[in-house]
C-alpha cells in the first residue's frame, strides 16, 4: 500500500516524458470542464423537485401540502417547485444553501426528522430558518417570479393593493412578513406580531375540544 503510494508520488513528481506540454494543458482543461460539469450536474440533479421529494419526509408532509396551494396548480399553469423557493439563483448563494441543506439530508439519514412526529417537532425550527433567510435576502426567491414593479395594483383585490401600497412599496415589510405559510401548513407556536390572539390559543383550545 505504502510503496504503491510512493510510486504514484514519484510518477507525479517526474516531469512528463511522454506527453507534450500542449496535451497536458488541453487535457487538464478538458478534465476541468468535465469535473466542473459533473459538479454542476450533481448540483442540477439535486436541484429538482424529484430529488427533494425523493425522501418520504418531504413527500408526505410539505409536498402534500404544497399540492393544495396556488403554487402547485393555478389558472396560469406556472408552477413553483421546491428549489424555486428554497434555493437561491446566484451561484455562491446556491452553494451556501446546499451546505445548509445537507444538514437536512443528514437529518434524514441520522433520523432527526425521519418520522412525522420528529418532523413536526423540528418543523418550527426549520420554518424559522427559512423565514430568517427570506427576511435577510428581502424575499429574493419570491421576487425571482413576482416583481413588485410589475404589480398592477388596480388589478389586485382591494385588500392586496392596500397592503402592498402601504407596506411593500414603502419597503417597510417584505413578502415573507405577510405571506408566511404560502406553500405549507404552519406549525404550532409561530411567533407572530400579535401573539395573543393567534393559534397559541391551542392550550385553551385543547381543553375546549376535549370537553
Amino acid at each position: 500500500m505504502w510503496s504503491f503510494a510512493k510510486r504514484i508520488w514519484t510518477t507525479l513528481r517526474r516531469p512528463s516524458a511522454y506527453f507534450s506540454l500542449g496535451f497536458l494543458t488541453i487535457g487538464s482543461f478538458v478534465a476541468g470542464i468535465i469535473f466542473w460539469g459533473g459538479f454542476n450536474t450533481a448540483m442540477e440533479l439535486t436541484n429538482t423537485e424529484t430529488f427533494c421529494v425523493g425522501c418520504h419526509e418531504m413527500r408526505e408532509n410539505v409536498f402534500a401540502e404544497l399540492k393544495t396551494t396556488i403554487h402547485y396548480a393555478n389558472r396560469s399553469g406556472v408552477r413553483a417547485t421546491c428549489p424555486d423557493c428554497h434555493v437561491p439563483h446566484g451561484w455562491t448563494d446556491k452553494i451556501g444553501r446546499k451546505v445548509a441543506a445537507s444538514k437536512e439530508v443528514w437529518g434524514k439519514i441520522f433520523g432527526t426528522i425521519n418520522t412525522p412526529e420528529k418532523f413536526n417537532a423540528h418543523r418550527l425550527t426549520m420554518a424559522q430558518h427559512e423565514w430568517a433567510r427570506f427576511k435577510a435576502n428581502d424575499s429574493l426567491e419570491c421576487r425571482n417570479c413576482h416583481s413588485e414593479q410589475s404589480m398592477d395594483f388596480t388589478r389586485q383585490s382591494l385588500r392586496a393593493a392596500e397592503a402592498h401600497q402601504r407596506f411593500l412599496v414603502t419597503g417597510e415589510k417584505t413578502c415573507i412578513d405577510c405571506h408566511k405559510g404560502i406553500a405549507h401548513q404552519l406549525p404550532k407556536g409561530v411567533a407572530t406580531t400579535y401573539p395573543q390572539d393567534r393559534g397559541d390559543q391551542a392550550a385553551d383550545l385543547k381543553t375546549y375540544l376535549s370537553q
Binding site: 382591494l158 404550532k188 390572539d197 393567534r198 393559534g199 391551542a202
Partner: protein, 158 residues
C-alpha cells in the same frame, strides 16, 4: 351498485310498511324517476355538475339579513389555515392586528364564553371562524329564496 340500491330501497319500504306509515305509493311501486328530487336527476344517476365559480373577492361588506347574522366573508379565503396550530383570520381580525390590516375587529361577542364572561382573547368556541362565516360565490340559487327582511315585514304589516 344498482342491486345494492334496490335492496336498500326494499329494506326502507319494508320498514315503512311495518311501522304503518306506508302510503299508497308502496302498492304502486316507485320508479327511480319518481325519486328525483331537487337534484332533478334520478337518484341512481349523477347529474351534470354546475360550473364552479371563483370565491367572491369584492372586499365590500355585505348587508346582514338580521342583526344576529354572522356577516358573510366579502373576500376569498382559499388556502387560509384555520386549525389548532394557526388561525390565519386572526392575523387580520384580532384586536391588535386591525391597525395594520384595517379589517373589522372580531366583535365583543367573540370574547365571551358561554356564561357571558369576557375573556382576554378570543373564546375557544369562536376560534373556528368558518363554522359561522362563509365566503360567497356568484351563482344562481338552486331553490328560490322566500326570506323576508324584518323591515319589509314591518312595512307590509302597516
Amino acid at each position: 351498485m344498482r342491486g345494492y340500491d334496490r335492496s336498500r330501497l326494499a329494506l326502507a319500504l319494508a320498514f315503512a310498511a311495518l311501522t304503518g306509515v306506508a302510503t299508497a305509493a308502496v302498492g304502486q311501486g316507485i320508479t327511480e324517476d319518481d325519486l328525483a328530487t331537487l337534484r332533478k336527476t334520478a337518484v341512481v344517476d349523477n347529474p351534470e355538475p354546475p360550473v364552479m365559480r371563483p370565491q367572491g373577492n369584492t372586499d365590500l361588506r355585505q348587508v346582514r339579513n338580521y342583526p344576529e347574522q354572522p356577516p358573510v366573508i366579502p373576500h376569498k379565503i382559499e388556502g387560509y389555515q384555520v386549525d389548532a396550530s394557526f388561525n390565519k383570520c386572526l392575523t387580520c381580525h384580532s384586536r391588535t392586528a386591525i391597525e395594520e390590516s384595517q379589517a373589522p375587529m372580531i366583535s365583543i361577542t367573540h370574547f365571551m364564553d358561554r356564561d357571558g364572561q369576557f375573556l382576554a382573547s378570543i373564546s375557544p368556541r369562536r376560534y373556528f371562524c368558518n363554522q359561522c362565516h362563509v365566503p360567497q360565490h356568484e351563482v344562481r340559487d338552486p331553490v328560490e329564496n322566500t326570506f323576508v327582511d324584518v323591515d319589509s315585514l314591518l312595512q307590509d304589516g302597516q
